[in-house]
């Protein structure tokens, strides 16, 4: 299953709903394109909802890191929401869990953006 992405706006925050696999190739490209598109429109408060992301490989992890730094370098914030156990475990062992701001409740996550 390839990755799909859709976005919605809540209180000035763009929630990016991702589903499927973030892997080398299409999945990583979709994520990169969506983030670039949001930034080009001045949307810099991004909440990536990973509830339906069931698989991520090292390329996908790299793409998430790239999205995080790209948004941050433009003065924005990218946070993660609703990690599946597998994605949570991968971020733990790669020590990225402490790098990303990870949330498990959408309303709380929305309010956390400055």
């Amino acid at each position: 299953m390839s990755m799909k992405a859709s976005t919605r706006e809540i209180d000035g925050v763009t929630v990016m709903d991702l589903s499927g696999r973030i892997t080398l190739g299409e999945g990583s490209v979709v994520l990169r394109d969506v983030v670039r598109d949001l930034l080009s429109k001045g949307k810099k408060k991004i909440l990536a909802n990973l509830a339906d992301v069931n698989y991520i490989d090292s390329s996908g992890i790299g793409e998430l890191v790239s999205a995080f730094t790209t948004v941050r370098n433009q003065g924005g914030e990218l946070k993660l929401l609703n990690l599946t156990k597998k994605v949570h475990d991968l971020l733990q062992i790669t020590k990225l869990y402490t790098v990303f701001d990870v949330k498990d409740d959408e309303a709380t996550a929305i309010k956390s953006f400055s």
Binding site: L24, G25, D57, S58, S59, G62, V65, K86, T94, K95
Partner: protein, 148 residues
Amino acid sequence: MTAKQVSYTFDSTLETVNNAEAQAGRIATEAGFSEDDVMSISMAVREAAVNAVLHGNAYDPNKKVMLAFNQDGKDLTILVRDQGKGVNLDAIPDCLAPENLLKQSGRGIFLMRSLMDDVQIHASSAGTEVKLIKHFPGAAGNFQEASH
């Protein structure tokens, strides 16, 4: 029990990465591994295949990726071999070092080591061979012998 082997030869394409992952998942499932172990094995094989296609063979259509599974009752051993220049392991930075945490790449071998019980990497000018080993937690598994 008699060792069971199956091997495949793939082109250096992105499709190979998906095929390798799928074969690993199928064989690990048939061998009786748990769902978590199947995911770990298929993910480790995917990472090895990505390295073989991208970094080893660099998508060269004249170079192949060899994938082999061996089951001996104690372990499932998977070989992923490319025909590249051979990886320089000393040149791969520690992806857990603070200064490398935000790098986009360099986590593949680390993930393989995290997901498998043992990972052995042999590099030469003829290519890189990655051996991924997962111990069976209990009774030996089973998969059909084949060759492609």
